[in-house]
Amino acid sequence: MKVAASSPNPNPPPVGESEPSDSEVGEGKGARPLLDVRHLRVEFPTRRGVLTAVDDVSFAIAPGEVLGVVGESGAGKSLTGAAIIGLLEPPGRIAAGEVLLDGARIDTLSPDAMRKVRGRRIGAIFQDPLASLDPLYSIGRQLTETIRTHLPMSESSARERAVALLHEVGIPAAERRIDHFPHQFSGGMRQRVVIALALAANPKLIIADEPTTALDVSIQAQIIALLRGLCRDHGTAVMLITHDMGVIAETADRVAVMYAGRIVEIGPVADVIRAPKHPYTIGLMGSIPSIAGDRDRLVQIDGSMPRLTAIPAGCPFHPRCDRAFDRCLRERPDLLDAGSSRAACWLHVVHPTGRARCC
């Protein structure tokens, strides 16, 4: 049973109960994680064989924590979020693993039961606010409908709560604008409404899939600040899926880096960004242009992420890694301890002598 060396679990799980064996419990928050994903595997059966889009992914989110899941397109981060919330499009399906919310499995629930979980206990924010809001109904109607589906409230108290929510997310003149339609709002305002919708039934966890990608740069900062503030106030945990490291840097507590359907590095945000341990993360951080300093060339990782039909054996990153050696070609590495974070890289195997194999 691997527990991160730097943060020992103060409350070891009682005997007989499910242990958070391979998943990482939040720093010092003890007890049971809010969301526990274990060995999740998402497959797509096609006529050319079964494609594994998410392969043996395990992580945990503590109550109130913000976990960033970062990766490039095709890494499987959106599918992971969709699988957790039960919105996988067929023929995609969860082929293995478990998803536990507050200790109880939700991946085996019936569609009806899952619908009750969605919204009440897990909220969702997607990338395109235009697609998330029904253009035919006023936002007030959509808000009150969501509230009344999950909470026992009368129409008028649901409407009061809706107005309060709109105030919280910063919609000016909420009492008047609650009856407006989505097309009467700008992009940033619409995303605020979507956040209000996600928080309407007071869920404990929000899965946000690229919530700011479609917005202007100056609006992004507003929305991210809003999301972070609201979640702190309500004690909501967030699984923030994005390709933008900048958003992660200022919002998340921990970050998981995904590549080819697997988590290759996971750890506290400051550590992963300042001192990445996995060669992919190192390359990724180096390829981000920054305002500080003038570099002639950006760090370039040659090649591209492998397609689902051609994932290499062993470590999926080895064809592009300049430090690969023969073990990388044969064996797939698990997440190994590397200081305060963990990286799936054979470079971090601790030798019997107690020293790391390579720095």
Partner: protein, 342 residues
């Protein structure tokens, strides 16, 4: 100066048809996409153009290459007027020398054409080579130049990733041996590591082929990496233009300052950015006077009435702001100076 843009203005008529207007008693609706824009680009330099949605940078890009006709003003390239290009005419050499790379790697290549035909199209259209063998040889050379192989020519675009498609776009743009490339957000749709590849490629090509770039992006960090001078646009006008070092260390215009403050700083994880107030107004009904005044903490009465003109600054740039011209906004560097980083 290789490219000179003088008081370029582009107005789109987005009103409904005359019959609908007549029956509905509506007015004409005009969209001022680009308003009185002037700047020059010297040979071999890279000018970066930054702005958010609705600022008119994409329209300006298309005006420069002649895809849209100007409403007023002029754009000259190496002394030749670009206006003729917009109507299908114009000297052939002009058409060859001005090329463009587009933002969307999925929509910029015809999905029904093979890559070799896509790259060969400008060669055939401009008759730069004749005979299938000569054309094929040139196509292979271009593909190699952007890091693809000759065998890739037989494939269709959907068989390539986004980054590879942008390379094909670049190969096609280079086929007519251009001097000037307008790059309209060429890496905005790409992942960050792929973006690094494409940006490095573009830098290498610039050196090898002595190209001049107009690089448009909404990403300030990318613009900082590629550009020599940077211009900031807001609602169709240029609000500030300066060389890179000056703009990033001593931004003058309040909008530029806010944009720079809104960039996430990776080295300061956990620190909140200072969000910009308000949102970009609807370009169909822009605010009076200086378009930025509703969001500007320094706005006064004059800002609400009068549109500011571009005035030169001490550091050699230009800025359009009454507050700066009147000395109300000090020229101190931002709180986060370059020396603080690293």
């Amino acid at each position: 100066m290789l490219l000179s843009v003088a008081h370029a203005t582009k107005v789109f008529d987005v009103s409904q048809g005359w019959l609908a207007r007549l029956l509905g008693r509506r007015q004409r609706v005009l969209l001022h996409a680009v308003e009185d824009v002037s700047f020059d680009i010297a040979r071999g330099e890279t000018l970066g153009l930054v702005g958010e949605s609705g600022c008119g940078k994409s329209t300006l890009a298309r005006l420069i290459v002649g895809l849209y006709p100007l409403t007023s003003g002029s754009i000259t390239y190496a002394g030749m007027d670009v206006a003729a290009l917009a109507h299908g005419g114009g000297p052939r050499t002009l058409r060859r020398k001005l090329q463009m790379i587009f933002q969307d790697p999925y929509a910029s290549l015809n999905p029904r054409w093979r890559v070799a035909d896509i790259v060969a199209e400008p060669i055939r259209a401009q008759r730069l080579a004749t005979g299938s063998r000569a054309i094929a040889a040139r196509v292979d050379a271009l593909l190699a130049q952007v890091g693809l192989s000759a065998a890739d020519g037989h494939k269709y675009p959907h068989q390539f990733s986004g980054g590879q498609r942008q390379r094909i776009s670049i190969a096609r743009a280079l086929a007519s041996e251009p001097e000037f490339l307008v790059c309209d957000e060429p890496t905005s749709a790409l992942d960050v590591s792929v973006q690094a590849q494409v940006l490095n490629l573009m830098r290498d090509l610039q050196r090898q082929l002595s190209l001049t770039y107009l690089f448009i992006s909404h990403n300030l960090a990318v613009v900082h990496h590629v550009a020599d001078r940077v211009g900031v646009m807001y609602l169709g006008r240029i609000v500030e233009l300066a060389d890179k070092a000056t703009l990033f260390s001593h931004p003058r215009h309040p909008y530029t300052r806010m944009l720079l403050d809104a960039i996430p700083d990776l080295s300061k994880s956990g620190a909140a950015r200072v969000p910009v107030a308000g949102e970009v107004p609807n370009p169909l009904s822009p605010p009076s006077g200086c378009a930025f005044h509703p969001r500007c903490p320094f706005a006064n009465d004059r800002c609400r009435r009068e549109v500011p003109a571009l005035e030169p600054t001490r550091e050699g740039g230009v800025v359009a702001c009454h507050g700066v011209a009147e000395g109300r906004i000090d020229a101190a560097a931002r709180a986060r100076s370059v020396s603080e980083e690293i």
